[in-house]
């Protein structure tokens, strides 16, 4: 992957002058290794990071404990065990959720969705736990913020619609998709990293954004560059690199 960020997609007979310039640049191996390592650590791949460290003869920058707990938190969110996730986040640093109501609310809402799922899974089951949870955990916060309120109302409507799975509206299906969990998980990951004084997001993401920005600028200025510059990450190339998540969501699990 490291080489693909700078290399040419294919050997075209006549190289564009810009492409030739690109080829002339020899990025330093240490820099590339650093970016990769940063990615592995920030995104939470402890074992890959460990192996890569051995291979590239690097030191692991953070201690493993924090990577490990971030991995556990992420896993918990991905499988829908929000309670565990919240407990673990609080073990790490209770300030994270205390000072970021939006994040806390997002997590609690995930938990509510899970509760609703279990409540509605069988026709006989009781929905009181979900109602209790919503009124005790989410409702107080929801009153303070219009967006929270809307989100909560939307989520609560699942209670009504959920048994009839086929005819769900798009908004509601989104709530049930794993991408919602992934989104929240990545937000949590960033928040945890920021709270530890590290870069919230992997540097690779900002590098990609920087490249995109430079390309737009160059095109706007009418510079002579090839009509399309591929990143080399096939999937990511199809979308503009504006979002924080798309480019790497592909790589997450």
């Amino acid at each position: 992957m490291s080489s693909s960020t700078v290399s040419v997609s294919a050997a075209t007979p006549t190289l564009h002058p810009f492409q030739r310039k690109v080829d002339d640049i020899k990025p330093s191996k240490t820099d590339i290794n650093f970016v990769i390592m940063d990615y592995l650590v920030s995104e939470g791949y402890p074992r890959a990071a460990e192996r890569f460290a051995k291979e590239a003869n690097l030191q692991l920058p953070h201690d493993e404990e924090s990577i490990q707990s971030r991995v556990e938190i992420r896993r918990a969110i991905h499988v829908g065990d929000i309670d565990t996730a919240i407990t673990k986040i609080n073990d790490l640093n209770p300030q994270i959720l205390d000072t970021d109501p939006a994040l806390h609310f997002a997590l609690l809402r995930l938990q509510l969705i899970e509760l609703i799922r279990t409540c509605t899974s069988s026709a006989t089951s009781d929905i009181t736990p979900a109602l209790n949870f919503a009124s005790s955990q989410l409702a107080p916060r929801a009153a303070t913020n219009q967006e929270f309120l809307r989100d909560l109302e939307l989520t609560m409507s699942l209670l009504i619609f959920l048994p009839a799975t086929e005819t769900l509206q798009k908004e509601l299906t989104e709530l049930l998709e794993p991408s919602l969990r992934r989104n929240v998980a990545s937000k949590v990951n960033e928040a945890v990293l920021t709270s530890m004084g590290a870069h919230g997001e992997a540097r690779m993401r900002s590098v990609v954004r920087l490249r995109q920005w430079a390309e737009t600028k160059a095109r706007a200025a009418g510079k002579d560059i090839p009509p399309s510059l591929l990143l080399g990450l096939q999937d990511a190339d199809e979308r503009p690199a504006n979002g924080n998540t798309e480019a790497t969501d592909v790589m997450v699990q």
Binding site: N90, T99, D100, S136, Q137, E190
Partner: protein, 1067 residues
């Protein structure tokens, strides 16, 4: 229900069973309360605080003992000890850690929750847990974090509370600071900082500790404690460790980076912590600059030629390499490059990268020097500029802030700094645009800030911090510097600032709705066993939005005040942009009646710092007569300012008094309005205040007020002020030591004549050329006094220099002397304006002489004119005995070339004289006495000792002293009416006897035109009256200078014009 889940955990904690059970209970409790204010409240009202405190205290005691035993006295194993502590993480440690986390979470609830926490004495055990030698490092980290949370919460209470005010003693912030700033607390912080950063854990601890310092350090005593504990040096070490990574010399890099590895992310915290400590203190700034590590890495710049013998030349060279980097970046990004002509015209441009920067001359035609110099900045400045340009957000801001503070220090204690031109150029092209950009981007209306507020709370907080701080940085940068002010305006900052100011009033009245509650809050009967104090919530603070609005309102006002400080055109610009309305709005004080933080909006009044800042802007603006006469009166500024005079906070009173000073000038249309509202009584009352600044400011205002007042009111004013009080002020303290005091090196140094005082001097309208001169003169001459080659590099030199700066700043005797002189000057000026009348009938002089008593009055004046320690009968010959003290200060060395040949006057020891300001002010009183009735003039001349003491002043090095001397003589020999000729002749004769004719002949050689022309008139009067002057005066025929006659004719007219000499706007 949410409620039902809490009691089990609470019960366990209130009635503890086993440690394990408590740990579980705490964990549950923590998970319950995080992010849920209502449950926090529930926990507190159930008395959780007491049990948390008990838990923490008990464990702290146990833990401390246990570890003391383990350590067993060997001090070297500090680090390994913490390591071991980490391994033996016990249930007790976990208990403490969890309890600490719960405390932190409670504190996140805001000031309302801190009140019970403090009441429950939770801080002491927490602070005990900071000792890295006794506490496992994980717990230290947690504790630091919790302390930071408490401090953050406290900041929402009422951040503007002034610690020096007695009312602040009841504030939370005061209590928290009291507990943290204890000997042991600071010691622990120092120990934490002294750890060498390597592992991530240690780095985190260092970071949190630095943050804690940065957030809490504000008061002088705190700074002192931090510096005394060596924390400033430690911070400098950390800073250098980060900076060393940018140093491109491989050898040092290897050395440094092995020692310390602090991530760059800490940099802004370190910079801010350093700034917090050194702010407002030249001495601490010097301590920072001369700290060992800073000196080692940054050295001090060399005159390039001598760099070779400098042992640190290698490192210096490496910083020089950073410059081109900075400069190339400049030439690329400089948005103004297009608008200025290319500088190819300068042939010297080869190899000089600065040549790409347009010189200041093209921006502003103030300087006579058009040549581009290739001086480099001092390495520390270069690096900070580099950081500012490289970084973004807080890192950039903190670098700029530190730069601004260091620049201020450099202006006061110039040493080895580049010339002012170079520095100005650096700042106006490298720093001001950055600050301007930060202001623009953080403005609440900008795209960036909108986007940031949608992002994480951290990003939003950073944006807010930048908005609060960046105008302040701008204010600090441009204060008192015209070209930087102009540069700031060129950068189009003004409209942005005013827009932000406007916006600060538009913050909606706290939209935060109350939390929804599942059922109506039931008023349960409280368990009587629960300690009531620690289980009752305190008052909630202000909403973050409102506090934020207050803060940035204040900084924007300060920035406006600084920009409008010195130039009329900019003042008008500020007004034209429509700032006046908002400034007036910022003068309305916040009243306690509108308490309730939740419903309080940013429009309903202003906290004290905003009031002070608003007063500063008005003061700046009112220096412009036209602004004073137009927009300020249109906006009705007088009444709100007048009301602030009686504000409970003395700082506000002082600021308001300073505005009043300018508003009661007789050019001010608001004068009568203010007088009618009874300002006289208020000011006289304030003159008796215990606060020096208030006394000083009020007397200054009275001085202005008194000018042109009706006789009756003048007399009333003097009565209210009290003659006794005036005499007391004029006498100063009884046991006044001489002004010249030995400095560290044992030399006799007149500190008061030292480098120009930065404050208040703006009044005396120094032309820009003079300023330039002062700079260029003082630097080399100051260097001359050091041994050649030694540039404060050796330890002794540094110590001497530090001692000098310390004495200047902290020596209470010097400071009180300085204050004394300032207020005496005002008192003298007050008398001067008191006796000044439109029709010179001498009535006020009579009144004054009567109330003071002749002899006492003249003795008072005499005391201000004669050398210290000499009796009133002592002649100047006594002063001659010790001819020239080491002429330490540039002014003296420069002026001794004054011609003394052919006269009986020789150079007295000026250092033994009172401060020149006092002499000058006193002589001006004599000028007016000499303008009185004939009897009064003769009375003056008959004061032989006094007159004898005036005579030597004719050769005083300061022009400000010689000018009034000349005027006095002029007035004494001037014939107003032909009837008076005989009397005048008599006066001339006595004056000749006293040696004044000779004196006039000295003055005629004066370099100063004003003095010279007065002297010419005097001599011709002497000639006319006594008639033999021509034969004897072998020198200085009037024609040489021309315009002698004209000056004579214009004499009185000029004097009339001089009434305004003390019209100075308040600076």
């Amino acid at each position: 229900m949410g409620r039902s889940t809490i009691p089990p955990a609470l019960n366990e904690l209130l009635n503890p069973s086993t440690p394990e059970a408590q740990v579980t209970a705490l964990q549950n409790l923590k998970n319950e309360i995080v992010g849920h204010e209502q449950r926090k409240e529930l926990a507190v009202t159930h008395g959780i605080v007491k049990s948390l405190a008990r838990l923490l205290r008990a464990e702290a005691r146990k833990g401390g003992k246990r570890r003391m035993n383990v350590t067993n006295g060997h001090s070297a194993g500090l680090f390994s000890e913490t390591r071991r502590g980490l391994e033996e993480w016990s249930t007790e440690d976990e208990l403490r850690s969890q309890a600490t986390l719960v405390v932190g979470s409670l504190a996140n609830g805001g000031p309302a929750f801190v009140t019970p926490l403090l009441a429950g004495d939770i801080l002491p055990p927490l602070l005990e847990a900071l000792r890295p030698s006794e506490t496992p490092s994980k717990l230290v980290t947690t504790t630091l974090r919790t302390l930071n949370q408490i401090v953050d919460a406290v900041a929402q209470e009422k951040p503007w509370v002034d610690m020096s005010e007695s009312s602040s003693r009841f504030s939370l912030a005061f209590a928290v600071n009291e507990s943290i700033y204890t000997k042991s607390g600071i010691q622990s912080l120092a120990e934490l900082l002294a750890q060498s950063a390597g592992t991530w854990k240690v780095t985190q601890q260092i970071e949190s500790a630095i943050r804690l310092i940065m957030k809490t350090c504000r008061e002088e005593y705190q700074k002192k404690m931090l510096v005394d504990a060596g924390i400033l040096d430690l911070l400098a070490d950390k800073l250098v460790a980060v900076a060393a990574m940018d140093d491109e010399i491989p050898t040092t890099e290897a050395k440094q980076s092995n020692r310390e590895q602090l991530p760059r992310i800490c940099l802004s915290d370190i910079l801010d912590a350093v700034s917090a400590i050194i702010k407002d203190s030249h001495f601490y700034t010097a301590r920072f600059l001369y700290s060992h590590s800073i000196q080692q890495l940054f050295g001090w710049p060399k005159e390039r030629a001598s760099a070779t013998q400098d042992e640190s030349s290698s490192s210096v060279a490496s910083w020089d390499k950073l410059i081109p980097r900075v400069q190339t970046m400049t030439s690329k990004s400089d948005p103004y490059k297009q608008s200025w002509p290319a500088l190819g015209a300068y042939p010297s441009a080869t190899g000089d990268s600065y040549a790409r920067l347009p010189s200041m001359d093209s921006l502003q035609q103030t300087s006579s020097r058009g040549v581009i110099t290739d001086e480099s900045e001092s390495p520390l400045f270069i690096w900070l500029m580099y950081v500012a340009r490289r970084g973004e957000g807080r890192e950039r801001l903190s670098a700029c802030w530190l730069l601004a503070l260091l620049k201020k220090f450099g202006e006061r204690w110039p040493l080895n700094d580049p010339s002012r031109m170079t520095r100005e150029r650096h700042f106006s092209y490298l720093i001001i645009p950055l600050v301007e950009k930060m202001i623009e981007e953080s403005s609440p209306t900008s795209e960036q800030s909108k986007r940031a507020s949608a992002l994480s709370p951290a990003a939003r907080d950073e944006m807010r911090y930048i908005l609060e701080r960046s105008p302040l940085v701008l204010a600090e940068l441009v204060a008192g510097n015209k070209s930087l002010q102009t540069a700031a305006v060129h950068a189009r900052t003004l409209p942005t600032l005013i827009q932000i100011l406007k916006k600060s009033f538009d913050v909606p009245a706290t939209p935060s709705k109350p939390l929804w509650q599942p059922r109506a809050s039931s008023h349960e009967v409280k368990d009587p066993r629960i300690d009531p104090v620690s289980s009752t919530l305190g008052r909630s603070g202000f909403s973050a939005d409102v506090l934020h609005a207050f803060k940035y309102r204040e900084s924007v006002l300060l920035a406006l005040a600084a920009i409008a400080g010195d130039q009329d055109s900019l003042r008008k610009l500020v007004i034209e942009m429509g700032a006046a309305t908002h400034i007036i709005e910022a003068l309305v004080p916040y009243t306690e009646s509108s308490e309730q933080g939740a419903t309080f909006s940013a429009r309903d009044g202003n906290p004290d710092p905003v009031l002070v800042a608003a007063c500063k802007v008005i003061r700046s603006l009112s220096r412009s007569v036209s602004v004073l006469r137009t927009s300020l009166i249109d906006h009705g500024v007088a009444q709100p300012v007048f009301e602030l005079l009686t504000h409970p906070n003395v700082k506000v009173q002082i600021a308001a008094t300073e505005v009043i000073t300018n508003l009661v000038l007789d050019v001010s249309p608001m004068r009568t309005e203010i007088i009618d509202s009874g300002v006289l009584g208020t000011l006289c009352e304030q003159c008796h205040s215990a606060n020096f600044d208030l006394r000083f400011g009020s007397l200054w205002a009275l001085k202005h007020l008194c000018l042109g007042l009706s006789h009756g009111m003048k007399i009333q004013c003097l009565e209210e002020l009290g003659v006794g009080w005036l005499i007391q002020v004029l006498n100063g303290e009884p046991s006044k030591p001489a002004m010249g005091t030995p400095n560290a090196a044992g030399e006799q140094v007149d500190i008061l004549n030292a480098v120009d005082e930065p404050h208040m001097d703006i009044d005396e309208e120094p032309s820009s050329e003079e300023d330039e001169d002062a700079m260029t003169e003082s630097i080399p001459s100051m260097r001359r006094h050091q041994r050649p080659g030694s540039r404060y590099t050796s330890a002794t030199n540094i110590r001497d220099r530090l001692q000098q700066i310390k004495n200047d700043e902290q020596d209470p005797r010097l400071n009180s002397e300085r204050d004394d002189i300032r207020i005496q000057e005002q008192a003298l000026d007050f008398i001067r304006n008191f006796i000044l009348e439109d029709k010179a009938d001498g009535e006020m002089i009579d009144h004054l002489l009567k109330t003071f008593g002749h002899s006492r009055f003249f003795e008072l004046l005499d005391a201000k004119l004669r050398p210290k320690n000499s009796l009133s009968s002592a002649s100047t010959s006594q002063a001659q005995a010790s001819p020239s003290t080491p002429s330490y200060w540039p002014n003296n060395t420069h002026r001794t070339s004054f011609p003394t040949s052919g006269t009986s006057l020789s150079q007295p020891n000026w250092a033994a004289y009172p401060a020149p300001e006092l002499i000058s002010a006193t002589v001006y009183i004599l000028v007016h006495l000499a303008n009185g009735r004939n009897a009064q003039r003769s009375l003056l001349i008959s004061q032989t000792t006094l007159m004898q003491h005036v005579l030597p002043l004719f050769t005083h090095p300061r022009r400000d002293v010689r000018v009034p001397c000349a005027w006095m003589l002029h007035n004494l020999v001037w014939i107003e009416d032909h009837i008076d000729e005989a009397v005048t002749r008599e006066r001339a004769l006595s004056l000749r006897q006293l040696g004044f004719e000779e004196g006039a002949k000295v003055l005629i050689k004066d370099l100063d035109l004003d003095v010279k022309q007065r002297a010419i008139v005097c001599i011709s009067q002497f000639d006319k009256l006594i008639g033999e002057g021509h034969a004897r005066s072998g020198f200085a025929s009037p024609s040489t200078f021309g315009g002698g006659g004209e000056a004579g004719a214009g004499g009185l007219g000029r004097l009339g014009g001089m009434h305004g000499w003390r019209h100075d706007s308040r600076g």
